[in-house]
């Protein structure tokens, strides 16, 4: 598990800053995003009003494979997959159905999937990729920051590219000098947007 290397909440009201520090931490923890973020700087000024979150992401290449959440027991003429974590059960079934056909894939209960007459190496099945969490990462990240930002801030601008993200939200039209402000926050972390 990675730790966030840089995490700062900047706000002219110290009490508000402490609260938003806690909120940011709680939301990212709840959405399992703490391990994804490398550096994060949050700037809030309720007087303007403006909310800026800029950050750098960790490089994650961890694709989820069948072996990550199942145990495979090869038996005579069949193969039993014992599932430890249901999160990726649906995409896994879909892939298995497509590859072997519904006749050969049976799911007697929530935690078991049985493959009949499948001539495949258990190793090969273990290596099959079920999901790639980094695909939906951008969406998850923006969703999390929508929760963190004050709710009234409904005018938003979101950018997520090259492992960096910018989230700007305000109640009013976002000013044109926003890029300079975003650059300044990146500079505080020693990065460029």
């Amino acid at each position: 598990m990675f730790a966030i290397e840089y995490f700062e909440v900047e706000c002219p009201e110290p009490v508000g800053a402490a609260y938003y520090n806690q909120i940011t931490n709680d939301v990212l923890l709840d959405h399992n995003l703490l391990k994804v973020i490398h550096k994060l700087h949050v700037f809030i000024d309720p007087r303007i009003p403006l909310f800026i979150a800029v950050g750098v992401l960790n490089k994650i290449t961890s694709k989820v494979r069948i072996g990550d959440f199942t145990n495979i027991n090869p038996q005579e003429g069949k193969m039993t997959l014992v599932i430890a974590n249901e999160t990726y059960l649906a995409p896994m079934l879909k892939i298995l159905w497509e590859k072997y056909g519904k006749d050969h894939v049976e799911q007697p209960d929530r935690f078991t999937v049985v493959l009949y007459d499948v001539r495949a190496d258990p190793k090969e099945i273990e290596e099959m990729i079920v999901a790639d969490p980094s695909e939906s990462l951008g969406k998850d990240l923006i969703y999390a920051f929508r929760l963190i930002a004050p709710e009234g801030f409904r005018v938003r601008r979101e950018i997520h590219e090259n492992g960096k993200f910018t989230f700007v939200a305000s109640e009013d039209t976002i000013q044109e000098d926003i890029d300079a402000m975003v650059r300044a926050r990146f500079a505080l972390m020693g990065e460029t947007p």
């Binding site: 009201e13 009490v15 508000g16 609260y19 938003y20 806690q22 909120i23 709680d26 939301v27 709840d30 809030i44 309720p46 007087r47 009003p49 929760l147 004050p150 709710e151 009234g152 801030f153 409904r154 109640e171 009013d172």
Partner: protein
């Protein structure tokens, strides 16, 4: 005879005896919860008889505690019903207050959140005014609270307790015109209140709400109500059988100076007005029967002695 609000907690076994006892003593049961093997009664009992009830319920492992929030309806005004503000902290407090006897409703303005953009409309204002007290759950920034407070309180006639992120001193300084109660250090947060310190904060809110309500009770005592809301509830229960068909948890919600009757206004307002309370005295002599802004319910406002010249 002064009636005081108490909560009785005990086993299901022989709880009928306790209900009979409370009724025989002249008390009223406001709400009865049966949770598995346990029973919780929220009731008004004569002050001098608490001792007696405690003594009789002792062999049944019953417990009698004073709970000043019984018989009050509280509006918890959350700035929105989005995940930003719910379930913590608004629901945490609403649920906590319910546990100690209050009837809490969550009220949320359609355009509550934000600083410049936050407003409240007439329906929301009227719904809040139907309660005994409003608890406003504000956010974390003093500049926002300062800005939106005059808008959010516009037209609200019931006492307001403000909770917000900044400390109590800051809230007192920025909130103008003043509110009736303040609790600092409870702004927007996104975790459940379950640790000792957080529960202490909820207790602090309850204490503040109780203090404000006590003040209101004292005011009512100066010009007493023509009939006690709990008694009126009992009479309606006896004379309007349709109330027993209502599936809501509290078909009759007791307030400090009135009653919410969860029956349609058009059909039931007239029969309700003509209920005979005592010989010759009808309900409409002592109370106003008005349409509620909450669904099509009825709200009964009991007149004070100075207006009706009768006390029963």
């Amino acid at each position: 005879m002064t009636l005081v609000p108490v909560t009785y907690k005990g086993g299901v076994h022989q709880h009928d005896a306790i209900i009979d006892l409370i009724e025989d003593l002249g008390g009223y049961i406001v709400q009865k919860h049966m949770i598995a093997q346990e029973i919780v009664l929220q009731c008004f009992v004569p002050k001098d008889d608490i001792e007696l009830i405690a003594r009789i319920s002792k062999p049944l492992f019953g417990e009698v505690t004073e709970s000043p929030l019984v018989g009050t309806e509280i509006a918890v005004v959350s700035m929105s019903l989005e995940i930003h503000h719910l379930p913590h902290p608004s629901c945490d407090f609403a649920e906590y207050a319910r546990r100690i006897g209050a009837k809490t409703n969550m009220v949320s303005p359609a355009r509550g959140p934000g600083k410049r953009i936050s407003t409240i409309n007439d329906e929301e204002r009227d719904v809040i005014n139907e309660h005994d007290i409003a608890v406003y759950a504000f956010g974390n920034f003093e500049s926002c609270i300062e800005h939106k407070w005059p808008v959010m309180r516009r037209g609200i006639e019931v006492p307001i307790v403000v909770m917000g992120g900044p400390s109590e001193e800051i809230l007192r300084r920025i909130i103008d015109p003043p509110a009736d109660g303040y609790v600092g250090g409870v702004g927007r947060f996104m975790r459940r209140t379950k640790e000792g310190e957080e529960i202490a904060k909820l207790d602090e809110i309850v204490a503040e709400v109780t203090r404000v309500l006590e003040k209101r009770r004292e005011e009512i005592a100066k010009d007493p109500l023509s009939v006690s809301p709990a008694r009126l509830m009992e009479v309606i229960r006896e004379q309007v059988p349709a109330i027993h068909q209502v599936t809501s948890p509290t078909p009759l919600t007791v307030q400090m100076a009135g009653l919410r009757v969860k029956l349609p206004y058009d059909t039931f307002a007239e029969p309700l007005r003509n209920i005979v309370l005592e010989d010759g005295i009808l309900l409409h002599d002592l109370a106003e029967v008005l349409p509620s802004r909450m669904r099509d319910y009825i709200i009964v406002r009991i007149l004070p002695f100075s207006e009706s010249n009768t006390v029963i």
